[in-house]
């Protein structure tokens, strides 16, 4: 059985206790999407300020466990100032890192494995250990899925 330290890295606990980019933005101009994990009741709202195809700023509110909160915080840092293309690449890398053969719900979420360097991931790599705890993968991916939703809502 993997140990707690695989899951709760120091960076994670830090982002959990001191979440970055917490708060809200008025909409408009901000884009907004709400995500929730029906199994555990976690709820997140993501606000995005775009400038052209750059995420100029981001705010996140909600409630959730240490993994979902810290993942949201880590994501906010990772995507801030990035172009949408760069964000898309990060998303693919992150999902690839989170993918296992069957996740706990047995969903065959087909994730294309992506080649990436640790450098590209930056602090996000702290979440790598989550894969060993399949139930928690949904916690780690909630904020990313909500981000995607905010961007998709804009597209439509």
């Amino acid at each position: 059985m993997p140990g707690l330290e695989d899951l709760y890295r120091e960076i994670i606990l830090d982002h959990y206790k001191n979440p970055r980019n917490e708060g809200i933005f008025p909409t408009p101009p901000a884009l907004k999407a709400e995500g929730h994990n029906p199994l555990c009741g976690d709820e997140l709202t993501v606000y995005l300020l775009l400038e052209g195809d750059v995420i100029k700023d981001i705010r996140i509110t909600g409630q959730g466990c240490s993994i979902s909160r810290s993942s949201a915080s880590l994501m906010s840092v990772a995507v801030k100032g990035k172009t949408l293309q760069e964000v898309d690449r990060l998303l693919k890398i992150f999902k690839s890192m989170m993918s296992i053969s069957t996740n706990s719900s047995g969903e065959a979420e087909v994730v294309d494995p992506v080649e990436y360097s640790e450098r590209e991931l930056g602090e996000l790599i702290a979440l790598q250990g989550v894969v060993k705890f399949p139930v928690r993968i949904k916690c780690a991916t909630l904020s990313w899925n909500t981000l995607v939703q905010a961007l998709e809502d804009r597209a439509s």
């Binding site: 059985m1 555990c40 009741g41 409630q63 466990c65 240490s66």
Partner: protein
């Protein structure tokens, strides 16, 4: 050694060390002790239950009700015998006719919401539920509302975790059905079901009990409880998965249309129609959970052998110990939901702990072999009422003792140190 329980009845105390020997899951040789505190989600199974099913499959399996040859005949006897055993366990006046096997408590309630709505209810008719119901006793009625336009009213929950009965007469005005859990799976509250059933009857409503959390833990008698229907589920009472039960008064069951159609539930089928079978088969379409019924009967034998009063005493004793222990160790850091008086509770403790998310609590506890559930416990409306998204929940059954509570306390102390 005997002792008196709250009712002044002598009971033989449970010897947990002996009981645990009957449960293979506690005797795995990986060197780690399992502190299983999630029986409200599903209980573990004694070897007697597994053996009853294996023995059935290994000697007597055949489809029931239609075979002339001896193993089919014997399978039918075992299946119908299980029905009688389980019906008697909840005090059914006519166990062989009134005890219906389903796949879980959820199907039992869906059977009712479906058959009652089609058979009895009209648009605008009122169904009264409570704010503390499990989704199993909410969604079927919400579906009936969508489909047939019935009205649903709710008995609210007060700040101590009891049902607020101040406006009960108003709520029951023109009600056709009252459906209430006997024990809340989150708050642990044991509801005053006899009083509620009597009130329902005074208003001409049918009284349905969701006994999923009650029947496994307390001596149950449907007549004493004043119920018209009682739903419960096998896997929470030492029985296998794949089986639930609906008990109902014969007259009422007879008046209802069938729920599902298929083999066994008919006396005749023509190309243009069919004639339903007699009770209880009218409500059992297709091959029933035969081995599961036999396993559940073995579970009932096991429980009865210990004595339901002794089981209740044991759980009360554990509950008191847990309350004291959690309080003295964590004080205000730990908030228990539901009634303070353990006598009003089943063996379920939902709690908030120091703003640590229940998922994280459960994860850290798991590292010490302590299994607790974290989440909304299929009671989202109640969660909203409590103003939270999730709780951690520890729950007991016969194989738990003080060492489980001690392990819980130790593991919680670790979690506090970790996230504190």
């Amino acid at each position: 050694m005997e002792r008196m329980n709250t009712l002044g009845v002598k009971t033989r105390p449970l010897i947990v060390s002996e009981i645990r020997k009957d449960f293979p899951i506690f005797n795995q040789h990986d060197g780690k002790k399992l502190f299983f505190l999630d029986s409200a989600a599903s209980s573990q199974k004694p070897v007697q239950v597994l053996q009853a099913m294996d023995h059935y499959y290994s000697t007597t399996h055949a489809n029931v009700h239609r075979g002339v040859y001896h193993i089919a005949e014997h399978a039918t006897e075992l299946y119908e015998g299980a029905r009688a055993t389980i019906g008697r366990f909840v005090g059914a006046p006519n166990p062989s006719r009134e005890t219906i096997f389903t796949k879980n408590a959820t199907e039992s309630i869906n059977l009712l919401s479906n058959s009652l709505t089609r058979g009895t209810l009209k648009k605008g008719d009122v169904v009264v539920l409570t704010e503390m119901e499990h989704h199993a006793n909410l969604v079927p009625w919400l579906m009936a509302k969508e489909q047939f336009g019935i009205e649903i009213r709710y008995i609210m929950v007060d700040e101590n975790g009891y049902l607020d009965l101040q406006n009960i007469d108003e709520l029951l005005q023109n009600a056709k059905i009252l459906s209430v859990s006997l024990t809340s799976n989150v708050l642990g509250t044991i509801n005053p079901i006899r009083r509620l059933a009597d009130l329902a009857h005074e208003h001409g409503a049918i009284a349905i009990g969701d006994g999923a959390q009650y029947v496994p833990h307390l001596s149950t008698n449907v007549t004493d409880l004043g119920l018209d229907f009682l739903a419960f589920t096998g896997h929470k009472m030492l029985g296998p998965t794949g089986i639930g039960v609906l008990w109902g008064k014969s007259e009422l069951l007879e008046s209802l249309p069938p729920f599902m159609g298929g083999g066994d539930m008919i006396t005749d089928v023509r190309l243009d129609g069919f004639t339903p079978n007699e009770l209880p088969w009218k409500f059992e379409a297709g091959t029933p959970p035969i081995a599961e019924a036999i396993g559940l009967a073995a579970a009932v034998d096991y429980l009865e052998n210990l004595g339901m009063d002794a089981i209740r005493d044991h759980e009360l004793e554990l509950l008191s110990y847990a309350f004291e222990s959690l309080e003295s160790n964590f004080g205000k850091d730990l908030v228990i939901h539901g009634p303070r008086n353990v006598n009003d509770r089943g063996g379920v403790i939902s709690f908030d702990f120091k703003n640590i998310h229940p998922h994280d609590i459960s994860q850290v506890l798991d590292q010490s072999g302590v299994c607790v559930r974290a989440g909304h416990h299929c009671a989202k409306p109640l969660m909203r009422h409590l103003g939270i998204a999730a709780t951690a929940r520890a729950s007991f059954h016969i194989y738990n003792d003080r060492s489980d509570v001690d392990a819980l306390v130790d593991a919680l102390a670790k979690a506090r140190a970790f996230f504190g």
